[in-house]
């Protein structure tokens, strides 16, 4: 992935990409193992919180306030960051953000820049944009190192290399890192190899780029949650620090952190608290970077904001709990979603940040089981938004001639007409009994043509019985017992 490739441009339909992923049994085993481990851990640390539901509700309310008054909070944030010695930049889209960051680095003559894992920079394709300027971005998060050295793509928003097991990681390190000939596949040893590789970089490269988990409007403080300490290195040692954040990451007041400091760690790494959280405000003499830039990115977020039923998509704190509990993600892994944002949040966010096309298959990549909604620490009703987005897609298609007369649209309209009358419905039931005859084998239908072939590839179909319930009722009870519903108890 050396060419310029923003992380949210989906190139393949989900069902096709999923088919390939499902065929990769090693991948399925790795993802299945990891998601099952973290699910159990999350249930444990969430279960010990008697006030978990109250925390979720408070998180939801705070994020709703952020969205409803986004302009106010961003202006406050800008003012506070500036007052604290930082500089604020605004970027309408990914390209503009990449240009701003590239120019800052070019001004300093940077050839290398350190990076803390950041989804937003993946979204804008920052690394390849910097490469075009001759600046190489050095990922410092262990998983990102694995992905970068493996010339691979992230498959999880928290653990980008979740699809790799320890043996595969050892092979990547042995191939790419000097002095690793005798490396074992013990996680501690693998981590040690990364520590040695990066230590020198931390002490010599004076530029760093980060994302932001939260930015407090009231105080101009930015917060980064992490585990390894690479974040602290990048936030503390370099001379110039640039943070890129989506405009929805602002929170109004410092006090609001009391909620997310509890819900984010338990939902993401499934710990009471992740090892390190850093909070800083602008610059400070003798302490940390001398120059701090905060880049505020829109890149389609204001479109999400404008679609009121989908607005709560912007409440996401990128914890990845919805990925970990999702039965679809568990089977297909993240690559099938073709975006920086996979899993349930990706299924709603990616299509909203995209043009119509393959991304429109993502809202259908869900059985609407609701596990994501139940796990989400800010109570985003993902299934509801999936259905809302399906509605928008159908609406858009109905406006085109081809869409209006597509097989699905015609079938749906026909069914709606049939359900519009009990008489037509009964007629349809009867003709189904006749129509299915060629396909029935004994008690089942083992194979069907057309769009139903996918169903019968692995599943038999129950044939329509000769007598429907309403026919039975009429025969048994007569029409009069049905004429008058309701009545006294």
């Amino acid at each position: 992935m050396t060419d310029f490739a923003p992380g949210i441009v989906v190139e393949r339909d989900f069902p096709d990409a999923a088919r390939d992923a499902l065929a990769n049994t090693q991948l399925r085993r790795n993802i299945g193992k990891a998601t099952n481990t973290i699910r159990a851990k999350r249930l444990k640390v969430v279960g010990e919180m008697p006030d978990w539901q109250e925390l979720r509700e408070a998180g939801r309310q705070i994020k709703a306030q952020v969205a409803r008054h986004l302009d106010t909070h961003l202006l406050k944030l800008e003012e506070a960051v500036t007052a604290a010695g930082g500089r604020v930049h605004w970027a309408r889209d990914g390209e503009e953000a990449n240009r701003i960051i590239g120019e800052i680095l070019a001004r300093h003559g940077a050839r290398e820049v350190l990076k803390i894992k950041s989804l937003t920079t993946d979204e804008t394709g920052l690394n390849s944009a910097l490469a075009q300027r001759g600046i190489s971005a050095i990922e410092t998060d262990l998983a990102e190192v694995i992905v970068q050295l493996g010339e691979d793509r992230s498959s999880h928003i928290l653990v980008p290399a979740i699809h790799r097991n320890r043996a595969e990681i050892r092979e990547i390190f042995k191939r790419k890192l000097a002095g690793t000939e005798n490396l074992s596949d013990e996680p501690a040893e693998l981590a040690g190899a990364a520590r040695r590789y990066l230590r020198e970089k931390f002490l010599t490269v004076p530029f760093a780029i980060s994302g932001a988990n939260f930015a407090v409007a009231e105080t101009g403080s930015v917060a980064i949650f992490e585990s390894e300490g690479n974040g602290r290195m990048c936030l503390t040692l370099p001379k110039v620090l640039i943070s890129l954040m989506g405009i929805e990451k602002v929170i109004p007041s410092w006090r609001d952190m009391e909620v997310f400091l509890q819900t984010l760690p338990r939902s993401s790494t499934a710990e009471r608290m992740n090892p390190y959280n850093s909070v800083w405000s602008g610059t400070r003499a003798g302490e940390g970077p001398e120059e701090f830039h905060l880049v505020l990115l829109d890149n389609g977020r204001t479109d999400v904001l404008a679609d009121e039923p989908a607005r709560e998509t912007l409440a996401c704190i990128r914890c990845s709990a919805c990925l970990n509990v999702c039965p679809v993600y568990e089977r297909t892994g993240g690559h099938a979603y073709g975006s920086t944002y996979p899993g349930p949040i990706g299924a709603i966010l990616t299509p909203q940040l995209n043009q119509p096309g393959p991304a429109e298959t993502l809202p259908y990549a869900s059985s609407l089981c609701g596990a994501c909604f139940e796990a989400c620490p800010v109570k985003i009703d993902i299934p509801r938004i999936l259905v809302h987005l399906r509605g928008k897609i159908v609406g858009r298609k109905k406006e085109t001639l081809a869409g209006k007369f597509s097989g699905e649209a015609i079938a749906m309209a026909a069914m709606a007409r049939i359900f519009g009358s009990a008489r037509l419905f009964e007629l349809a039931q009867k003709s189904a009994v006749i129509g299915q005859k060629p396909f029935v084998r004994g008690n089942v239908i083992p194979s069907l043509p057309g769009p139903m072939a996918g169903w019968t590839a692995m599943r038999d179909v129950t044939p329509v019985p000769k007598q429907s319930f309403r026919q039975w009722w009429r025969a048994e009870r007569g029409a009069e017992s049905s004429a008058k519903p309701g009545g006294s108890a």
């Binding site: 609407l368 996918g454 692995m458 429907s468 519903p485």
Partner: protein, 247 residues
């Protein structure tokens, strides 16, 4: 109590015996059941597929048919969840005050069958007899939208002769999801495969649930296994009695 049966288009057409079982249990408990013949479909499939206009039409129709009823019972968790949760939301999205009032009122009187027995009637023992090893799959709608898993389990525990075996990873979706099973058939089947393995591990003869749509999907897979294991709606287990078995 006068109970109006909402059978669901799916059960009406494909699983009439489930409706018959509901009628038989309710009547055995001394209630009288009516069946509004004008009913067809709640619009769930249209709604979940994004066909909103069609859904609104079916919702209005459903309201007209069922509004006169006092209590509506339905043996399908997903349809109950459509009427209880999606209708009021749809009405709100439309900003139609009259529809909001009507859907809210309706939502308060529609019950899933097992929920109705346990929560509304306070009955956990319906006098059923079913001498088989059974495992229970909580459908996603019954588990997360309606939260009625304990009702179904309580009913099963009180069935004489029945050995209830816990299903490992029961809370995971079976992979049905309506049109999902067709649009994303490969993923759906991958989910079903794991569900079937879990069912197999219980050695149960029967997998039961409160929704025939998920059960049809599971049954379709079980049927391919040719293990003799089958899927059966909870109502049908509750309807079977010792006398009935002897006949």
């Amino acid at each position: 109590m006068q109970v109006s049966l909402f059978i669901s288009c799916f059960n009406d057409t494909l699983f009439p015996q489930t409706g018959q079982a509901v009628v038989s249990v309710l009547e055995r408990l001394g209630h009288s059941v009516d069946f509004p013949m004008e009913q067809t479909c709640c619009g769930q499939m249209h709604l979940n597929s994004g066909y909103r206009d069609e859904t609104v039409g079916l919702m209005r129709r459903f309201l007209d048919v069922f509004e006169p009823c006092d209590v509506i019972v339905c043996p399908s968790s997903s349809c109950v969840s459509t009427v209880r949760t999606s209708y009021p939301r749809l009405a709100r999205e439309m900003g139609d005050a009259e529809l909001i009032r009507r859907t809210d009122a309706l939502a308060g009187k529609v019950f899933e069958f097992s929920e109705f027995l346990v929560r509304k009637l306070g009955v956990e023992d319906v006098g059923a007899y079913y001498p088989h090893r059974v495992t229970y799959h909580p459908t996603c709608n019954s588990l997360r939208a309606l939260k009625i898993t304990d009702a179904a389990l309580a009913l099963l525990r009180n069935v004489r002769g029945l050995e209830l075996i816990e299903l490992p990873k029961s809370e995971e979706c079976c992979g049905f999801g309506g049109t999902f099973a067709v649009k994303n058939a490969d993923t759906s089947i991958a989910m079903l495969t794991d569900k079937l393995a879990n069912i197999r591990s219980t050695q149960a003869e029967v997998c039961t649930a409160v929704d025939n749509s998920c059960l049809m999907h599971i049954a379709g897979g079980l049927s391919r296994e040719r293990s003799g294991r089958r899927a059966l709606h909870l109502a049908e287990i509750l309807a079977s009695t010792e006398e009935g078995m002897r006949q």
